[in-house]
């Protein structure tokens, strides 16, 4: 069986480039898309003492894991991308919720972590989530750009076939 050509949306096992070989990226998708929301939910739930954060993180992680599983089976990057995006969205949402919750209680993580003076944990999560979304967007653009020549070549080859 020859090399598979990238289907619209990413994935596949073609030569190189972002979003082309899903297997290469999968550990990172898993780490960011699946584990990060769950881990963030756990940490924030500890700081704010709200189990709802953990439930939220686990729910998003579950959703992302389901997408990733499908992506890995189908060799499609688009689904994996969704998982990564979900992780980013979850991180932003959880970070925002945590800041709102913690500040509403006037109980900054400073109270917990020995007077650091900032709610660094939820803010760090916000920044991570935003960075993750930016990576997702950049990746999406890169995937589309790298696909165009392949698609054009395919179209040309199809036209010249007898």
């Amino acid at each position: 069986m020859g090399d598979r050509v990238e289907s619209p949306g990413g994935g596949g096992a073609a030569a190189s480039g972002p979003g082309v070989e899903s297997a290469v990226w999968a550990p990172w998708w898993l780490a960011f898309g699946v584990a990060l929301p769950a881990a963030a939910g756990l940490l924030l739930s500890a700081l704010a003492n709200r189990l709802s954060f953990l439930a939220c993180g686990v729910a998003v992680a579950g959703l992302a894991a389901a997408w990733l599983l499908r992506a890995l089976r189908a060799g499609r990057g688009a689904l994996a991308l969704r998982a990564l995006t979900a992780g980013g969205v979850a991180a932003v949402a959880l970070g925002g919720l945590a800041i709102a919750e913690i500040e509403a209680l006037t109980l900054g993580s400073a109270a917990v972590l020995g007077g650091a003076g900032v709610n660094w944990a939820p803010r760090a999560l916000l920044i991570t989530g935003a960075a993750q979304l930016a990576v997702s967007a950049a990746w999406l653009v890169a995937v589309r750009r790298s696909r165009r020549p392949v698609e054009r070549r395919l179209e040309t080859e199809t036209e010249t076939e007898p």
């Binding site: 898993l30 699946v34 890995l72 006037t106 900054g108 917990v112």
Partner: protein, 848 residues
């Protein structure tokens, strides 16, 4: 209880059992349906009444002994009275655990016991254990039965698949699984946290076996989960044993599976299983870390230190000479083969070296013992060793040694770190003995029946053509059978009750008869019938081991855990209703055993007492004047300034007991309730504060009014200190503080929640907000939302100095161990998921 509620635990156990079988079949090693059916039937036979008939697996008959439930109807059969801590400790903490989770919060702080306690530092609630969390789906009284059934099923299923992995055929593996799953260690302590460890042992070893011998990412995941599961078991001592067994088996299996490889490659093969265990441990760090960090400050730790000192002084030897100590050691070996030779608390009392809870834990069945001994002394070794057997031999030796404790062992043990911490002198290493006996018996059975013509092929029914007994050296086997029967006879007949020989004699003789029948029957079948070829039952007889084990052990242990009526589960009484309605944020205390410690906690009522050995020792020490003895949990004093400080509003006595003024009777019924005249609030503003002299927290017991004077570890210098009376002014300024206008200082609002106390105060001057909330280092203070340094008041409570003006004060409880544990757990989760992803893809790539 409705029929649906009565059936629910059984249905939940069935669903979980089905799920486990599916996962094993889909991803690991299958359990044949007929074997699974046998396991299901065994659990149904042993625990059917608590799974399907609404009975409760708790010794609720103990409630009859104390007010307010002395009027409860007496029912038979009753549970063992020695199981008191199941209701006075575990049930109480489980109930509070549920309440805290229902609030949508982590169970960080238990405000209803003592002066508040760090919840996660007390493992009695089995915090975070998956089975316990699943049991929260049920009514609380149904949970113990469901958890117990799951523990037994885990023992049975994982011992079976482990033995199968180690090359033992279905009949032997079934016999081994039943021997362990129905053993004394599991059933004598079924409701206790120890059996979480018992269930975790085969689970962990199976994870070790898969991760070392197979090594896929799923196998490592299994090992990680098993490690976390084990560590959440709730009983540090047995958790340590199980993890040690994992190390022993892991080393053996790693060594034998990597034979022939270069040294570096060998070492590299050890890394993934170790990493899996480390990740599993890190994932449960939020639950473990608070406990580990607080353990040394518990009542249990102090009691242990006292015990160790007494052993070092030679109190254990009791002036006996060596011959007498050796004789006693031989007697301590008896319960391994004859568990009720010294009687049993189940029938009345035991006159052995300990209670049935230690004596009965080393019994894995007469058939198991016989076959294991035949395996050691009378079976031809072919193949030389099954996987795991050498480890089992080592575990058996360690288990036997520590269970029987030869002279000098205890004295040696207290000098060994970790081992010295065991309150039972490590007798619970009998877990090794019963497990190893099950493994050795299964291996021996396999050898006896393995077809010589089939060589080393793992035996199953199709390879059992050789006939039983073919692998036995018969003269030796006959000697082993006779010796064991003689030992059991000696055990029972030579150790009758020394005070009253007739006591429980019929029960003991019945047990003796059962054991001798099993030994003689099985021995005769193996030694004699094996000669006779052509017996029709030969092929079916491979199941004899499993059958005998199941029959004997279920007869021995079924009556240990009778279900009690659900209507006896802490039923409501008017006095309880009165306390619940009127106590508010204050605490109550029962005098001299009335409304025993922790019973109020089950019902959601704050009680100053605690029966838990993990109670903070500093509180026990501080409340010494209220107790009869140093370590007693019974309060015997009804009026004392400490009770004011500790916010005790009601004192409860048994009906008929009288307490004089200044207490006032406010309720009379199944309990008599007395109101104390001036209980203080949880947080208050004292008139004066003083730093005690160096190490002078005993001055706490000299204070007459804590409203007036509070001892505090730090007094910031300021104007108030300069206005001290002449006598106090001779001391350094920062040693005293006195309010200049006490009436201008007041607490406007006080709203205590479990891990968060909110107060609004109005102060005309700088003042101290003192509390009766135990400070273990996890309480943080915020004034108007900004972090300030808290202080320790009266030696062990949290307090905070406040500036003049109106302020909002938040005392927030976040134990550092928990937050750091969550951070560690988060990192482990990310690392673990990324690792698993990499493993999966590495495995897939070659086929892509």
């Amino acid at each position: 209880m409705s029929w649906w509620a009565a059936l629910a635990p059984g249905l939940l156990v069935g669903a979980l059992f089905g799920g486990l079988l599916f996962l094993l079949r889909r991803f690991y090693d299958p359990v044949p349906w007929r074997i699974a059916a046998i396991f299901g039937l065994v659990v149904f036979w042993m625990l059917g009444s608590v799974l399907f008939l609404g009975r409760v697996l708790l010794p609720l008959n103990l409630l009859w002994n104390s007010s307010p439930w002395k009027d409860l109807e007496r029912v038979e059969p009753t549970a063992l009275h020695l199981q008191w801590d199941l209701v006075e400790d575990q049930a109480a903490f489980r109930a509070e655990h549920r309440r805290l989770l229902a609030r949508g919060e982590w169970p960080l702080w238990n405000p209803r016991v003592g002066a508040g306690e760090p919840f996660l530092a007390n493992v009695s609630a089995q915090n975070g254990h998956p089975l316990v969390l699943l049991s929260d789906l049920l009514r609380i009284e149904s949970a113990p039965g469901m958890i117990a059934a799951c523990k037994v099923l885990l023992c049975l299923v994982f011992t079976f698949v482990l033995l199968r992995r180690w090359g033992i055929g279905q009949p032997g593996a079934l016999g081994g699984a039943l021997a362990y799953g129905l053993s004394g260690f599991v059933w004598v302590q079924l409701g206790w946290v120890h059996t979480h460890s018992a269930a975790a042992l085969p689970f962990l070893l199976y994870g070790v076996e898969r991760a070392v011998a197979v090594g896929g990412w799923r196998d490592r995941l299994l090992l990680g989960v098993a490690s976390g599961w084990t560590l959440l078991g709730g009983h540090p001592e047995t958790i340590f044993y199980v993890m040690s067994a994992g190390v022993v088996v892991g080393i053996e299996r790693w060594w034998s599976t990597s034979t022939g490889l270069p040294l570096l490659e060998r070492a590299a093969r050890a890394a993934p299983p170790i990493a899996a265990v480390a990740l599993g441990a890190a994932l449960v760090a939020p639950i473990l870390a608070p406990f580990v960090l607080r353990l040394e400050y518990s009542r249990r730790a102090t009691m242990n230190e006292t015990r160790i000192e007494s052993i070092r002084r030679g109190a254990q030897d009791d002036g006996r000479d060596l011959a007498e100590r050796l004789e006693r050691w031989v007697e301590r070996t008896v319960p391994v083969a004859a568990p009720v030779a010294f009687g049993s608390e189940r029938f009345g009392r035991s006159w052995g070296f300990a209670s049935i809870f230690q004596e009965g834990t080393a019994f894995a069945g007469s058939a198991t013992l016989l076959i294991a001994m035949l395996g050691l002394f009378a079976v031809r070794r072919r193949p030389s060793w099954f996987a795991g057997e050498r480890s089992a031999l080592l575990l058996a030796a360690v288990g036997f040694l520590f269970f029987t404790q030869p002279p000098g062992l205890v004295r040696l043990m207290v000098e060994i770190p970790v081992l010295r911490m065991s309150g039972s002198e490590n007798r619970r290493l009998s877990i090794f003995l019963v497990f190893a006996l099950a493994v050795l018996a299964a291996g021996a059975w396999e050898r006896m029946f393995r077809d010589r013509r089939a060589g080393d092929v793992a035996a199953d029914l199709t390879s059992l053509g050789g006939g039983h007994g073919e692998g036995l050296r018969r003269p030796r086997a006959a000697l082993v059978v006779i010796a064991l029967i003689a030992f059991v006879l000696w055990g029972y007949l030579a150790h009758g009750n020394p005070d009253n020989p007739a006591e429980h004699e019929r029960t003991r003789i019945a047990h003796l008869a059962l054991q001798v029948s099993v030994l003689a029957g099985l021995g005769a079948a193996l030694v004699l019938a094996g000669h006779r070829r052509g017996l029709g039952w030969r092929r079916r007889s491979v199941w004899l081991f499993a059958l005998l084990v199941a029959v004997e052990l279920s007869l021995f242990h079924r009556s240990l855990s009778p279900g009690m009526p659900a209507s006896h589960y802490f039923p409501e009484r008017p006095s309880i209703e009165f306390l619940r309605e009127n106590l508010g944020d204050h605490r109550m205390v029962g005098i001299d055993g009335a409304f025993k410690p922790a019973y109020p906690l089950v019902l959601g009522i704050a009680d100053l007492r605690s029966a838990s050995p993990l109670q903070p020792y500093s509180l026990v020490r501080a409340t010494r004047p209220l107790r009869r003895s140093a370590f007693s949990n019974a309060i015997v004093v009804a009026d004392h300034p400490l009770l004011d400080l500790l916010s005790v509003k009601y004192v409860v006595t048994a009906p008929g007991d009288e307490l004089g003024p200044p207490l006032r009777e406010v309720f009379r019924g199944n309990l008599t309730i007395w109101q104390r005249p001036a209980p203080m609030n949880l947080a208050f503003l004292p008139n004066r504060a003083r730093r005690p002299a160096q190490g002078g927290w005993r001055q706490l017991h000299e204070v007459r009014s804590f409203r007036d004077l509070v001892l505090v570890d730090r007094i910031p210098s300021g104007p108030s200190s300069a206005e001290l009376p002449e006598a106090e002014a001779e001391e350094p300024a920062a040693s005293f503080w006195r309010a200049t206008s006490p009436r201008s200082n007041r607490v406007i609002e006080l709203a205590p929640e479990p891990a968060h106390i909110r107060a609004r105060v109005e102060l005309g001057e700088r003042a101290l907000l003192a509390t009766s909330v135990f400070q273990d280092g996890g309480w943080r203070a915020l004034v108007d939302g900004r972090r300030v340094e808290s202080v320790v008041t009266n030696g062990l409570f949290v307090g905070v100095w406040l500036p003049p003006g109106e302020h909002r004060v938040d005392l927030v409880y976040r134990p550092r161990g928990f937050v750091l544990g969550c951070a560690l757990s988060s990192l482990a989760l990310i690392a673990g998921v990324a690792w698993a992803g990499r493993q999966t893809l590495t495995a897939r790539r070659p086929s892509a």
